[in-house]
């Protein structure tokens, strides 16, 4: 035991400053909710927004000033952490802005709504930086614990209660499977630190010339656990029901921020920790990615509820993202990070359009989007743009994201996967275009005009800027994440 080192202590806590900032202010928001006779709508929301903005700035500041590992190698703040922390916090900000209307309609527990979002965001930020499997597991639990409650937030709504219950049960089972896989990995390698696991796996391979079956089984368990968190086919069964039943801002939060954090953890576990076992998992991931693209896109065609359609479409999107994982090099990691960024703005924007529409009409049915272009030209234009970005049409960010992912896969020799991706993109174009056609070429009478609230307009504008900016000027950003990916793979 070494003596207590004050300098090291400060360095450790400086690196974790964004998380601490978010946590302390989450407590403040929660305390504020208990003060006063009734929580005024918007008060907790405003505080939550400033909190997230503060955390965003703190994360950039820490990214500039501090660097490296902390807390005995359980936590790291590298370039990749900066990229994904900004993506997660961007998702949280858009969620908080688009929640203002939903929270205003809640009778009770308005402050707790934002408090739980912030606590969940703390878990996601920790997930992005965890380099040790126990820390990662507890961070995953923290991020989902708040989401379980938020999914069931509409009291008295049967669908919302069903969403919460399904999510908590399936989430619990998937966490157990992930933890079981971690236990097997520990049994085989004798460590839970990702860098040490990499060496131990290499040693196993060197001494036996292959991998024992238990290694494959551990990989399957860990992959299944991640599959549940990412709603990757065939582990996506919970997604449509939860997405449909949860309050729509929470659906957006679930489908974007929580997946971005899980993808960062995925990169750390599979590209670093299990890198030496790559030949054992590349085929598995390729198969899962193909399955996700096919199942997600084909099932999305027959949906009549827009939230369910977007749920299946996000199953397909995760499939596209994982196409980048077969490359296992800098290009693969870069493509995954860029796709996550593009997906953040496009998917978040699409869900915000759904929120704006259902706030005025109370409906989530695709049939009711008939003639939206006449009822609200602005909303229809936004929605069409986000759907086109999800399809991957230039000049949106979605096009470049798909291009990078497919390029990485072709370079890695997975041409068949790219062909599957291109064919399923055509299917995706069909159901996205069906919605756009309904909005612009209505059949029959259209109802009254729809107005979009100020806060939602702001969120829509931010998402649009993201979708177009990263689609037209990706250069500096791609260079930056490529650098982050290089540092991740170099083990710095």
């Amino acid at each position: 035991m070494s003596a207590f080192d004050l300098t090291k202590f400060y360095a450790d806590w400086q690196i974790i400053l964004p998380e601490c900032f978010l946590f302390v202010w989450a407590l403040f928001v929660l305390t504020l909710a208990t003060l006063g006779k009734k929580d005024e709508p918007g008060r907790s929301g405003t505080f939550a927004l400033w909190t997230i903005l503060g955390a965003l700035i703190t994360a950039v500041w820490v990214g500039v000033t501090a660097d490296g590992a902390a807390f005995g190698g359980t936590f790291v703040f590298d370039r990749l952490a900066v990229v994904f922390k900004e993506v997660v916090l961007g998702g949280v900000i858009l969620t908080a802005i688009s929640s203002i209307g939903t929270v205003g309609r809640l009778e009770v527990h308005r402050g707790e709504y934002y408090g739980l979002i912030l606590l969940s965001a703390v878990g996601m930020l920790l997930m992005v930086s965890a380099t040790e499997l126990l820390t990662l597991y507890i961070a995953i639990e923290l991020s989902t614990m708040g989401l379980y409650v938020l999914a069931a937030y509409h009291k008295g709504s049967r669908r919302s209660a069903e969403a919460g219950l399904k999510y908590v049960i399936l989430g619990g089972i998937s966490s157990a499977i992930l933890l079981y896989g971690v236990a097997w990995l520990y049994g085989l390698t004798g460590t839970t630190n990702l860098a040490a696991i990499k060496d131990a796996v290499m040693n196993i391979y060197m001494s036996t010339g292959g991998f024992p079956p238990a290694m494959t089984l551990a990989l399957i368990f860990v992959l299944a656990g991640f599959g549940f968190k990412l709603a990757l086919a065939p582990f996506h069964m919970w997604a449509p029901d939860v997405y449909e039943g949860a309050p729509t801002p929470i659906t957006a939060f679930l489908s974007v921020a929580s997946k971005a954090a899980a993808l960062a953890a995925f990169l750390r576990v599979f590209f670093v920790g299990l890198e030496s076992a790559a030949m054992a998992w590349t085929q598995m991931i390729a198969a899962l990615a193909a399955l996700g693209m096919i199942v997600g896109n084909v099932t999305a065609i027959v949906q009549t509820n827009i939230k369910r359609m977007l749920a299946y479409s996000s199953v397909a999107q995760i499939g596209y993202i994982l196409v980048g994982a077969v490359a296992r090099d800098t290009w693969g990691a870069t493509a995954i990070s860029f796709y996550t960024m593009a997906y953040l703005f496009a998917n978040m924007g699409a869900f915000i359009c759904v929120i704006a529409f259902s706030e005025r009409t109370g409906s989530d049915e695709i049939a009711d989007y008939n003639g939206l272009a006449a009822r609200s030209p602005v909303l229809a234009a936004f929605f069409a743009l986000f759907l086109l970005s999800l399809t991957g049409i230039p000049p949106t960010a979605g096009f470049l994201a798909k291009y990078y992912v497919f390029l990485a896969a072709v370079n890695a020799g997975y041409l068949w996967l790219v062909i599957v991706g291109l064919l399923t993109s055509v299917i995706a174009l069909y159901y996205y275009a069906t919605v756009i056609r309904k909005m612009y070429f209505p059949s029959g009478e259209t109802a009254s005009t729809i107005t979009v609230s100020k806060s939602l307009t702001l969120a829509l504008v931010i998402s649009t800027i993201g979708v177009l900016f990263f689609g037209v000027f990706p250069g500096p950003f791609v260079g930056w994440i490529q650098n982050a990916a290089q540092m991740l793979l170099a083990g710095k």
């Binding site: 035991m1 974790i16 946590f23 929660l30 807390f71 005995g72 359980t74 936590f75 009778e107 009770v108 527990h109 707790e112 408090g115 739980l116 606590l119 969940s120 703390v122 878990g123 920790l126 040790e132 126990l134 820390t135 507890i138 961070a139 639990e141 923290l142 614990m145 708040g146 379980y148 409650v149 069931a152 937030y153 009291k155 008295g156 709504s157 049967r158 209660a161 919460g164 219950l165 908590v168 049994g187 085989l188 004798g190 024992p212 079956p213 238990a214 290694m215 494959t216 089984l217």
Partner: protein, 187 residues
């Protein structure tokens, strides 16, 4: 056969039989009692592995706290006490098939895999070492657990607290929602 192996076999048999009763019993209260038995068996395994601290923690936390909470949840849930709930479903054959398949795969994997073992003697004073690790190497996960518990506490309150207007504002039949939410909160 040496006494340790014998004790291990006896404990393993106890755990397996008790666990089978947990999932097959038609009365959920009996399931909870058998779960306590199985958890005791696991504590026994920890003793055999010379990890007395873990054994004590297992008894205190799992047997003492979690099982009792489960029994409270069972007794406080009105619909279970009524005897109206079904405890079985049609998925038994499928579940059996999947579990047996997984068992075969796992047994095969373990059979084929050389499991690395450590030649080092068990640590004496493990509790003290564990405490030191929690405050040095593993201080971060240790602290996150407290944030996790806080989140769970707030979440349980939000879910369980009765909403005075929920009954009137319900968009569809909400008659059975409070009971379900209470169940979840306690479990």
């Amino acid at each position: 056969m040496d006494p340790i192996t014998l004790a291990f076999l006896a404990l393993a048999f106890l755990i397996i039989v008790a666990s089978l009763f947990v999932v097959s019993s038609r009365n959920i209260f009996h399931s909870a009692i058998f779960l306590i038995l199985a958890l005791f068996g696991v504590a026994g395994i920890f003793v055999l592995l010379e990890a007395p601290f873990l054994a004590a923690a297992q008894v205190l936390i799992y047997v003492g706290a979690i099982s009792i909470l489960m029994i409270f949840a069972v007794m406080l849930t009105a619909r279970i006490a009524d005897g109206q709930l079904r405890y079985t479903n049609e998925q038994v054959p499928t579940g059996l098939l999947v579990s047996l398949g997984l068992l075969v795969v796992m047994l095969y994997s373990l059979w084929q895999t050389p499991i690395p073992t450590s030649a080092a003697a068990p640590v004496s004073g493990a509790g003290r070492k564990l405490g030191e690790l929690f405050l040095t190497q593993y201080v971060l996960p240790f602290e996150i657990i407290s944030v996790l518990l806080l989140t769970a506490l707030i979440g349980a309150l939000v879910i369980a607290k009765k909403d005075p207007r929920a009954a009137s504002a319900a968009d569809d039949s909400a008659a059975d929602v409070p009971a379900r939410e209470r169940e979840r909160a306690v479990v």
